[in-house]
């Protein structure tokens, strides 16, 4: 798997984790460029549909990051994240998706170093796992 560059989608909440990523950049921390960031207002906005869609369209891993419990800008948003995540993982396992491919993290605006560490570690994990194999429906002329 030497040549494999993982594609990872990261949903970062505007108020904490995105700011944390920003801080990592401003602090000139080095971390892999495999994570494509999608800024969302709150981690609670990350409908499992987003995660499934990312996987179905070529992502090898997905990161959902938000404020620490108790710190969500919208008070309750990340509790919804916290509650959905384990159920989503149970379901993804039934679809053959390894638990390590979808990760949830709490990263505050002050935690630039943690952000960089998470991205580094997560990229390495996905590199070890290899590409995510999707179930593909190719086209009407390629049924079988």
């Amino acid at each position: 798997m030497v040549d494999f560059e993982p594609k990872i989608i990261g949903f970062l909440c505007n108020w904490c984790s995105y700011a944390g990523a920003d801080l990592a950049g401003v602090s000139r921390l080095q971390y892999p460029a495999n994570l494509r960031v999608v800024r969302v207002m709150c981690s609670g906005r990350v409908d499992p549909t987003f995660v499934f869609k990312a996987l179905s369209q070529g992502a090898d891993g997905v990161l959902i990051a938000g404020c620490h419990p108790g710190d969500c800008h919208y008070t309750e948003g990340n509790y919804n994240t916290l509650k959905r995540y384990p159920l989503m993982m149970q379901m993804l396992e039934q679809f053959g998706v390894e638990r390590e491919r979808v990760r949830m993290e709490w990263i505050s605006a002050a935690e630039g170093t943690i952000y960089a560490d998470v991205v580094r570690e997560f990229t390495e994990t996905i590199r070890q796992l290899g590409p995510y194999k999707r179930r593909l429906v190719k086209g009407r002329d390629q049924v079988g």
Binding site: N80, G96, R140
Partner: protein
């Protein structure tokens, strides 16, 4: 007026959709008055070869139920597409794979091994698996090829209309036939015989604040007949499911399993339901979530009971 040519077909299905057609009861005579049935394997004895001889486009309406699971299903779907003016994906299996498509959580090898080798009631010392051809003294025998994936009808051929339900209600069937007879058809690609609102919208039960401490399977609880079933801890898919069935299951004190398919605007019924269920669990810590989740034994099978083929992930893959 010339009679319509009507075809009804079942591919990978349980037969329930055909029974629903019979359930229009005496209206079946009205259907017979306006339509010539040219193919209906469950009830009449036409041969595929008879249909193959018909000119392209000579069937006015084909109600196609069942998913595409093998090469015979595919071949007949292609033939009926060519012969039909209006091809309707009829019922959940044709629309989105239905119950048969739950098999997409496994692959062909898993399924054949389980069914023909491992099941306790199977005696198969030579490990024989189904073959597509087999020579015999009286000639070669052929069986359709079992595919690795269960497809929805529109993953195989173009579909003109969708009539959801497992099965569609007899009332809706009658409406579809009437619409074709009168030429009063909605735009191509439309879902016919269902509402654009959620089932909850049509449901008469009392809805309050939803905060759930424990989920139950339907045999584990005697429910209050007035109150929203989801609030009582049953996994009712009403919030993400199209209305139109007349809340049949709810009226019988059973939670909705989602057979009318995702609401318009919902890409993935299961993921959306997961999203709403997550939000209404009355928990603050991972441990509390864990405990509540004990009541949900098979989320993929429950939340995609009728729609695996057209879901975002489509099924499982061995990584």
């Amino acid at each position: 007026m010339a009679k319509l040519n009507l075809a009804l077909y079942w591919a990978a299905a349980c037969g329930g959709c055909d029974v629903a057609v019979l359930d229009v009861n005496e209206k079946i005579l009205d259907i017979a008055a306006v339509a010539n049935i040219v193919l209906w394997p469950v009830a009449l004895d036409h041969k595929y070869a008879d249909v193959a001889k018909m000119a392209p486009g000579s069937i006015d309406l084909c109600l196609f139920n069942g998913a595409i699971r093998n090469s015979e299903n595919e071949q007949i779907a292609r033939m009926l597409r060519e012969k039909s003016q209006v091809l309707v994906a009829f019922g959940s299996c044709a629309i989105s794979g239905g119950i048969p498509a739950l098999a997409n959580l496994k692959d062909r090898d898993d399924i054949l091994r389980r069914v023909y080798l491992e099941t306790p009631s199977t005696v198969n010392p030579d490990g024989v698996l189904p073959q597509t051809g087999c020579p015999t003294p009286v000639g070669d025998l052929h069986l359709p090829e079992f595919y690795d994936f269960v497809y929805s009808l529109d993953q195989v051929v173009e579909v003109d209309y969708y009539v959801p339900g497992c099965p569609p209600t007899p009332q809706r069937i009658w409406e579809v036939v009437q619409a074709v007879v009168s030429g009063n058809l909605p735009p191509r690609g439309a879902t016919v015989g269902a509402l654009d609102k959620s089932l909850c919208d049509e449901c008469q039960r009392v809805k309050r604040d939803k905060k759930i401490k424990r989920f139950y399977r339907s045999h584990e609880i005697i429910t209050d007949p007035e109150l929203c079933l989801l609030e009582q801890g049953l996994l009712c898919m009403g919030p993400v499911t199209r209305g139109g069935c007349g809340t049949q299951c709810i009226n019988a004190n059973m939670p909705c399993r989602g057979c009318y398919g995702p609401l318009p605007g919902v890409t993935d019924q299961g993921a959306k339901y997961l999203s709403s269920i997550g939000a209404i669990m009355d928990a603050r810590t991972p441990e509390e979530v864990d405990e509540i989740m004990q009541g949900i034994v098979d989320p993929a099978g429950t939340f995609y009971r009728f729609g695996m083929s057209t879901s975002l992930l489509k099924g499982a893959v061995k990584q």
